[in-house]
């Protein structure tokens, strides 16, 4: 069964770019435009990993990450923050909120794929051991 990834970004450009980078890699992809929409989608259909932009209207990535990690149903979902290096202070906040990793813009495809693969491999192994 393929892993599900939710891409969360308020810009059409980044949603499309991340979707393109992950297309053909064997993942099931879904999109959301902000933190509120992401949480709503996650309640309906829980992904394995969320690619979460930090700067977004309505609810930013850090608050969204905090809510994911505080929720009993969602807390095991892996969260990768997407940021610029100039937001380094916010990356620290994101780790405090429970994010699993981060990646900086402009996104390098190989780095993105490696991080996602590593996080999901670890998660899939743990699920396998639990069953």
């Amino acid at each position: 069964m393929s892993n599900k990834i939710l891409i969360v970004d308020d810009t059409e450009t980044m949603r499309l770019y991340e979707r393109m980078l992950l297309t053909g890699q064997g993942y099931e992809l879904d999109l959301a435009g902000d933190g509120v929409e992401a949480l709503e989608k996650m309640k309906e259909d829980l992904p394995d990993l969320v690619l979460l932009d930090i700067m977004m209207p309505k609810m930013d990535g850090i608050e969204c990450c905090r809510r994911i990690k505080e929720d009993e149903m969602m807390k095991d979902v892996k969260v990768v923050m997407v940021t610029t290096k100039s937001e380094y202070e916010r990356v620290k906040e994101a780790f405090a909120a429970g994010c699993d990793d981060y990646i900086t813009k402009p996104i390098d495809k190989l780095e993105l794929l490696s991080k996602i693969k590593e996080l999901l491999r670890f998660m899939n192994l743990r699920q396998l051991l639990q069953t």
């Binding site: 059409e12 450009t13 979707r19 992950l22 297309t23 992809l29």
Partner: protein, 242 residues
């Protein structure tokens, strides 16, 4: 969701007056697919040394990142029909895919006219609202039809800022506008080959999209004006009937 299928279908029938963008997009899509197939082949090839395999895959994926950026740029230029929507798309591409933190986009109403400021990022940056080549820090690098590049460490701090880069926006080979780059994201030391490819594509195709969007704005204004005239005529007919 199958990303590629959705993207290709959504682009069908759009981009009237933006033919060269659609053609470029098709070519890029094919190249991305070829690279994807090549990566799969190499990853499956157990005769290759692991280090060599990693090196080749790294190179191919780096190329794929650049091409994906170009595809997204073409897609955004094709799909953004309104003028402000198009400017937002250009801003997103420059910020997120190239990694610029401060820039301004200029456009002119005619080939011989002054360049007018369309958008500036971040919004507080002082940039000339009207630009004449040769005048001021931006005008001094906005030489007709040519790109200008400076190293980040050569940046001169002036008010308004002096650009570290100027990329003309062309239409049918003629410069109709340009992008003045003031700053890159702090971790970037300068323009990389991939950035220049994206900016070159923007230079070549954004003009076509901006001109198309401007025509739409003018056509919309004409329709609105006609609607006003009709509404007013309707009112006077009603008055004369009474």
């Amino acid at each position: 969701m199958n990303g590629e299928d959705t993207i290709k279908k959504s682009s069908a029938g759009r981009g009237v007056g933006r033919g060269s963008i659609a053609a470029a997009m098709e070519e890029i899509h094919e190249e991305i697919s070829r690279i994807g197939a090549r990566v799969a082949e190499i990853e499956a090839d157990r005769t290759l040394d692991a280090d060599e395999r990693e090196r080749v895959v790294r190179e191919l994926q780096a190329r794929s990142s650049v091409l994906t950026g170009k595809y997204v740029l073409a897609h955004r230029l094709l799909e953004s029909l309104g003028f402000s929507e198009l400017m937002a798309a250009i801003r997103e591409v420059l910020e997120s895919l190239v990694g610029l933190s401060s820039f301004a986009v200029y456009w002119s109403e005619g080939p011989e006219k002054d360049l007018l400021l369309c958008t500036v990022e971040p919004p507080g940056v002082t940039a000339d609202a009207r630009l004449r080549p040769g005048d001021g820090p931006v005008g001094s690098v906005a030489l007709r039809g040519r790109s200008y590049l400076a190293r980040v460490e050569e940046r001169r701090f002036t008010e308004p800022p002096t650009p570290i880069g100027w990329f003309p926006l062309l239409h049918e080979g003629e410069e109709r506008g340009g992008i003045a780059v003031f700053e890159m994201l702090s971790h970037k030391k300068g323009f990389e080959a991939g950035d220049l490819e994206l900016l070159e594509m923007l230079s070549e195709h954004a003009g076509e999209a901006i001109l198309d969007a401007s025509r739409r704005v003018r056509a919309l204004h004409r329709v609105e004006s006609m609607a006003d005239v009709i509404a007013r005529s309707g009112a006077s007919f009603a008055e004369s009937d009474e």
